[in-house]
């Protein structure tokens, strides 16, 4: 009998220990493109962080830290940068990561990403004198080499094998082979249903503590499954409550009250910097081709009503006078008085003084994107109160995305305002913030044209000292408010909802699954 009990106990213990640890995640959206360089979609970026590694990371304090790079040097004239890769880096196919792989990856990224393109305007050449070293030679000093290489959001300069990175930049890659902490199981990928990643047993994490996208990327689960089919907000909550999934990446704001009542669930503010809402004007067509009208609109668009209507939970949102994320090095209130110290009466006066002729303002309202769908209604109401004539047009988000790319007049299928949200790293500096540009038709949708703004951004790119960069960022922001590139509409966080047995969340922007433990 004793022998039998011992056998049973052994079997139970072995069964428990031998069981695979599977982290079941409900991501914020569907994964439909697997090339994080070809698209800026956040889901592709998150897929990238599972599969690939980066040369540098950005920690929770927004500081760039080495990741695949072991050490680096920069010449006295700041034109030659030399980097040495860490030992033990290998791709999932077993081949070592070399300088040639890095150069091919950076070249492809530099053709797609806006910051990468900017960096490449400074780059004279790149080479790899030996397998573990790569060098970047600049034509003239530039102040954002490390920020670019450690860029935490789309497009992230992920390192791929040379044979993959040699894919033309306008074509999608065919393989998902990286050197990151997880291996993508292509054979288990079912579009719209499930994406599976398994632990990369050969991954060598850094010794530093994990922080943001920097530090040691330790993997404590055997497998991460992204449930791509579970997209109904209430069903997500039900599934989490029943323990059928472990993590909800972006619960609907309306779900938090219910989530707080579930005993085995807790909320985790993994990304305290969060997101910023933005109202973007079309500078090509009346009435917003007139800077005075844009200023009147910014004055009318106070942040609190947007945040209250859209987020609704006081502890999850904050006003932020900066166009760069508040709480990051370039966050400041410089030049924001037009919005932060304004009120409806002033907006009405500004509009009257602007010579606005009653041209209707076409606002694009997405009806299927819970995270932003209430913003256009608030914008419409505030602008009406200020004296604008508003035409609020409802459509699905993908129609908004298509329509905002049109430069036609609003009456012919164009637009005047659309509203969106950005993750912090996308807007925290003048080179990543797509909305702060003045290159006319080459700018991001809305196409502001302002030579002074472009000149300041160019100076920022060349500045190499932190104090000088900060001063320039302030001047850029002040100019952006002056010409009214867009209206920042406040910031918010969207905490994860997780089962209580899932711990180890790394603080920092983005959705990453290293260091996460499931007990």
């Amino acid at each position: 009998m004793r022998k039998l009990l011992a056998v049973v106990a052994f079997a139970v213990a072995f069964g428990a220990n031998g069981q695979e640890k599977v982290l079941r995640v409900v991501p914020h959206s569907n994964l439909n493109i697997l090339d994080p360089i070809w698209t800026t979609q956040y889901m592709a970026r998150n897929h990238g962080y599972m599969v690939y590694d980066t040369l540098f990371g950005t920690d929770e304090k927004s500081r760039v830290q080495p990741q695949m790079v072991d050490k680096w040097t920069v010449s006295q004239d700041q034109k030659q940068w030399s980097f040495t890769l860490r030992s033990g880096l290998a791709f999932h196919d077993g081949k070592p990561v070399t300088g040639e792989d890095v150069i091919a990856s950076l070249s492809r990224w530099g053709k797609r990403d806006a910051m990468g393109q900017k960096l490449m305007t400074f780059v004279e050449k790149m080479d790899s004198p030996d397998a573990k070293t790569f060098r970047i030679f600049l034509r003239e000093p530039c102040g954002f080499v490390l920020e670019a290489l450690g860029k935490p959001s789309s497009n992230v300069p992920f390192i791929m094998p040379k044979r993959v990175a040699d894919t033309p930049a306008d074509k999608q890659i065919e393989e998902a082979v990286g050197s990151g902490p997880y291996i993508f199981r292509k054979e288990e990928f079912k579009p719209g249903d499930k994406a599976v990643y398994v632990r990369n047993p050969k991954y060598v994490p850094r010794k530093d503590p994990p922080s943001g996208t920097a530090g040691g990327k330790h993997v404590y689960v055997d497998r991460v499954e992204w449930n791509l089919a579970l997209r109904d907000a209430q069903s997500q909550v039900n599934a989490l409550a029943k323990g059928e999934v472990d993590v909800l990446e972006r619960p609907a704001f309306e779900s938090y009250e219910q989530l707080k009542q579930i005993a085995d669930v807790r909320l985790v503010t993994k990304d305290p910097l969060g997101f910023q809402y933005m109202g973007r004007f079309n500078h090509l067509h009346p009435p917003f081709n007139n800077p005075k009208v844009r200023q009147a609109a910014i004055a009318a668009m106070a942040q609190e009503p947007f945040l209250r209507a859209q987020v609704g939970i006081k502890e999850f949102y904050r006003g932020c006078a900066s166009m760069f994320t508040c709480g990051t090095p370039y966050g400041s209130a410089k030049g924001s008085e037009i919005q932060s110290k304004s009120n409806m009466k002033k907006a009405q006066e500004l509009l009257k003084a602007s010579g606005y002729d009653g041209t209707p303002v076409v606002i694009l309202k997405p009806t299927d994107l819970a995270a932003i769908q209430k913003l256009p209604d608030v914008a419409a109401q505030l602008l009406r109160q200020a004296g604008f004539k508003v035409d609020l047009q409802a459509m699905d988000w993908n129609t908004v995305v298509s329509r905002r790319a049109k430069k036609d007049p609003p009456a012919q299928g164009g637009w005047n305002i659309f509203l969106t949200a950005w993750v912090a790293p996308d807007i925290w500096n003048p080179l990543t913030n797509a909305a702060i540009g003045g290159a006319g038709e080459k700018s991001w949708f809305g196409w502001p044209s302002d030579a002074q703004l472009e000149k300041l951004r160019d100076e920022f790119a060349r500045a190499t000292d932190d104090a000088g960069k900060k001063a320039l960022a302030e001047r850029i922001q002040a100019r952006a408010f002056e010409i009214g590139t867009h209206a920042p509409l406040g910031e918010y966080v969207n905490p994860l909802a997780v089962r209580k047995n899932v711990t180890g969340w790394v603080i920092g922007p983005g959705d990453h699954y290293w260091n996460v433990k499931k007990n």
């Binding site: 979609q41 956040y42 306008d170 579009p191 719209g192 579970l230 599934a239 059928e244 298509s402």
Partner: protein, 305 residues
């Protein structure tokens, strides 16, 4: 069978043109939020969307005629493969739904007709009205709350393929099938009731009863058999509608079926997938209709083609 070809051709042309006329640019969607106009233009050219519509249609039609429904813009896999992946969940859900609906509704309908005006008949009519009136998602949430969250009997969501074990497969499918079957139970039961009621008024029923046949036999062999044609019609239409119309149920229960694929493709403007799936649905509609027509011959020997 030959009549299928012009129907499918008309559907193909209409779907193709409608997609090109509706707003929404797949290139802009694929490029992501921070993409520039230049990047979007390059993607558009890569997808062949910068060519004239006639050329695009010609290329697509030539592929379809050779049995190739094209490749998804997003997943870059064959649309036929995508449909293949999604067919099992939808087919399984539709089959189980219809099975439950038929097993429950036909006896109910016959009983209601038999006890016309009685409490059973009134209860059935009341249930029918409720079945038609309660939205599927409301019923789904109520059932999930009761059966999955409170009683803990069944999973909240998800789908397990039949290859993953029949018990698990059934465990995940039973609740969505019950949810979806309610409206079909209501529909088929009403049609059965009306048809059987009509048959019960016929002379041959009176004759059967006068001969002393047991009431069950009168109801099943005489009344129901003669009422079978409209019932088969409504069941057939139900199957056809189910194949393409289960999107709400699939969404609430996270079942990766054809309905969800269609909605995702429409929202993402994945033209090849939408075109392929709708052609497939059209084919299913035509095939099911044909099968219904053929079934009439067996159900009513008087019908000849």
């Amino acid at each position: 069978m030959l009549a299928t070809i012009p129907v499918l051709l008309i559907v193909a042309v209409l779907v193709f043109l409608l997609l090109r006329l509706t707003p929404g640019d797949p290139a802009a969607i694929m490029a992501g939020d921070a993409a520039t106009a230049e990047q979007i233009e390059r993607i558009r050219a890569g997808l062949g969307l910068d060519r004239p519509i006639v050329v695009q249609f010609g290329i697509w039609l030539a592929k379809v005629l050779s049995g190739d429904l094209g490749e998804s813009f997003y997943y870059r896999i064959k649309v036929t493969t995508l449909i293949g992946q999604r067919l099992e969940p939808t087919f399984a859900l539709a089959s189980l739904t219809i099975l439950i609906a038929v097993v429950v509704s036909i006896p109910l309908g016959v009983l209601a007709a038999w006890r016309f005006g009685g409490w059973l008949d009134r209860a059935l009519m009341g249930f029918s009205v409720m079945g038609f009136s309660v939205p599927v998602f409301v019923l789904a949430y109520l059932l999930i709350w009761l059966v999955s969250l409170k009683l803990g009997w069944l999973p909240v969501q998800g789908y397990v393929r039949i290859s993953g074990g029949f018990f698990l497969f059934l465990k995940h499918l039973i609740l969505p099938a019950i949810t979806l079957s309610v409206i079909y139970i209501a529909l088929i039961a009403r049609v059965t009731r009306a048809s059987v009621l009509e048959a019960l008024g016929e002379d041959y029923i009176r004759t059967a009863r006068a001969k002393g046949l047991p009431e069950v036999r009168v109801l099943v062999r005489h009344a129901l058999a003669n009422a079978a044609v409209p019932i088969a019609t409504v069941i057939g239409i139900g199957i056809a509608i189910l194949i393409g119309g289960v999107v709400v149920t699939e969404s609430v229960y996270a079942i990766p079926g054809l309905g969800r694929l269609t909605v995702d493709a429409v929202l993402a403007r994945d033209f090849p997938t939408i075109q392929g799936v709708i052609l497939f649905f059209s084919f299913v509609y035509v095939a099911v209709n044909m099968l219904i027509d053929l079934s009439y011959v067996f159900l009513d020997p008087r019908i000849r083609y």
